[in-house]
């Protein structure tokens, strides 16, 4: 019997890393939004920029996910 432990380990490590990265970045984006809505003009611009940057990064990961699903892209 052959169990591919390295592939399993890879799945575990990559899944954990990607999940944490996406959730943290998205949370920072949400915080940016919350800041933009809550404060005056100065904080609002910074918050909005932070949110835009973070959501863009998450969108990129989603794009990569779709790329992974579709073998025609490889």
């Amino acid at each position: 019997m052959h169990v591919d432990w390295s592939a399993l380990g890879q799945v575990a490590a990559v899944s954990l890393g990607v999940t944490l990265a996406v959730v943290v970045v998205f949370t920072l984006g949400v915080l940016g939004l919350s800041r933009a809505e809550g404060s005056g003009t100065g904080g609002s611009a910074v918050g909005r920029a932070q949110a835009a940057l973070c959501f863009l990064a998450c969108a990129a990961v989603v794009g990569y996910g779709i790329w992974l699903i579709v073998p025609q892209f490889h």
Binding site: M1, A7, V11, L16, L20, G65, P71
Partner: protein, 384 residues
């Protein structure tokens, strides 16, 4: 097309029926948390999920090849065995749906096939090492990985947003949930629709309509995608209730963390060719997300029942599949018809039982329990 006999046609219809039950059994995986947190309206959620399932089916056929050429010896499998295996899988799926348990459709399918092939061709035709390597180990590992990832992500999300405004946070994560749930649906379509494609392809190979190691033809991909998409759209509300409300009370940051963890696990393992169970991954994620929020209540009774269902899914489906195979083996065509009729009757009975206490789009979020008993007289409507 002269290879497609009556029996092969029956098998293909049964396979599509299984695909349909797979769809409504597994809607919850992608959408339960979004429905529970109010990120999506129930009807909208199942529509999005159904459409993306169909889209997903067309995108990839990688797993379809590993199923038909993996756990059982293709050369010894007859359409009759596949039929018996599918009957086992369908009945197990319907039974677990009735009691609202999110068991694995993939394990039901594998179990049914293993039982039927074992009885039909002998134990040597089942590749048990492949079963352990490709099915059992991912089944144990994947929910744990997803659960740990969701737990850590939930914890971080709550830590980071501790001082932010609640309403802005809730709104933000709800939007994120829509995206992550959609990706789970897409991945589910590629994963699970492929299993049916694999089974139909296996049937066509065994009937001689396709060469050994052939890929699924376009009409197989299209019908499998449609069947799972329709099933998903119909919505397995009983299971959605258990996963969205029963395990733990889910808030939108948890929902987002859980769905992200599910997507990550499903995509990375699909990429490496593991045929894992979306259901187990999603349940693991939800449990992890429940634990990650401090003081969040996890109903361990529900989790325990679910784990028990996972353990017995494969053997139970194997038992039904084996039983069906032995009837068909000794009874020939008459046996096939008898099994088909018995299966239909049982399916109708299960559906009738579900009508006693129906769960629909309108009442899915009202309770956290799914029961088969009649609701209390005070609430019983004339149409229930």
């Amino acid at each position: 097309m002269d290879h497609i006999t009556f029996l092969v046609a029956v098998v293909i219809v049964t396979a599509l029926a299984f695909d349909f039950t797979n769809g409504f059994h597994d809607t919850a995986n992608a959408m339960a948390t979004s429905i529970a947190t109010g990120a999506l309206k129930p009807r909208t959620a199942v529509l999005i999920s159904g459409v993306l399932n169909i889209a997903g089916a067309f995108l990839s056929t990688e797993v379809a090849k590993t199923i038909s050429g993996g756990i059982v010896d293709d050369a010894q499998v007859t359409p009759v065995m596949i039929f018996a295996g599918l009957v086992g899988a369908i009945l197990w799926n319907l039974l677990t749906w009735l009691v609202g348990l999110p068991s694995s459709s993939s394990h039901a399918l594998f179990g049914g096939l293993i039982g039927a092939v074992w009885v039909g061709a002998g134990s040597h035709a089942v590749h048990f090492d492949k079963v352990v390597d490709k099915v059992l180990i991912p089944a144990v590992a994947s929910p744990v990985v997803a659960g740990v990832a969701a737990l850590a992500a939930t914890y971080l999300a709550y830590r980071l947003t501790a001082r932010a405004r609640r309403d802005a946070v809730t709104k933000g994560f709800r939007l994120g949930q829509v995206a992550s749930a959609s990706l789970v649906s897409l991945a589910h379509g590629t994963n699970d629709a492929q299993k049916t494609m694999g089974v139909i392809t296996l049937t066509l190979i065994s009937a001689g309509a396709l060469g050994q190691d052939a890929g699924p033809p376009v009409w197989v991909i299209a019908s499998a995608g449609l069947a799972i998409g329709l099933g998903t759209y119909l919505g397995g509300w009983r299971i959605i209730r258990t996963m969205g409300k029963g395990l733990t009370e889910i808030h939108s940051p948890q929902g987002f963390a859980a769905e992200t963890a599910s997507t990550a696990v499903i995509l990375t393992s699909a990429h490496l060719g593991f045929a894992l169970s979306t259901t187990q991954v999603a349940s693991g994620s939800i449990l992890g997300a429940g634990l990650g929020r401090r003081l969040a209540e996890v109903r361990w009774g529900v989790a325990g029942r679910m784990a028990l269902a996972w353990l017995i899914t494969l053997p139970a489906a194997a038992l039904v599949g084996g039983l069906a195979a032995s009837v068909v083996k000794h009874g020939g065509n008459v046996g096939t018809v008898v099994i088909a009729l018995v299966a239909l009757a049982l399916a109708a009975t299960i559906f009738a039982l579900s009508r006693r206490n129906p769960v629909r789009a309108g009442n899915v979020n009202d309770h956290h329990e799914v029961t088969v008993r009649h609701p209390a007289p005070a609430h019983a409507g004339p149409a229930a």
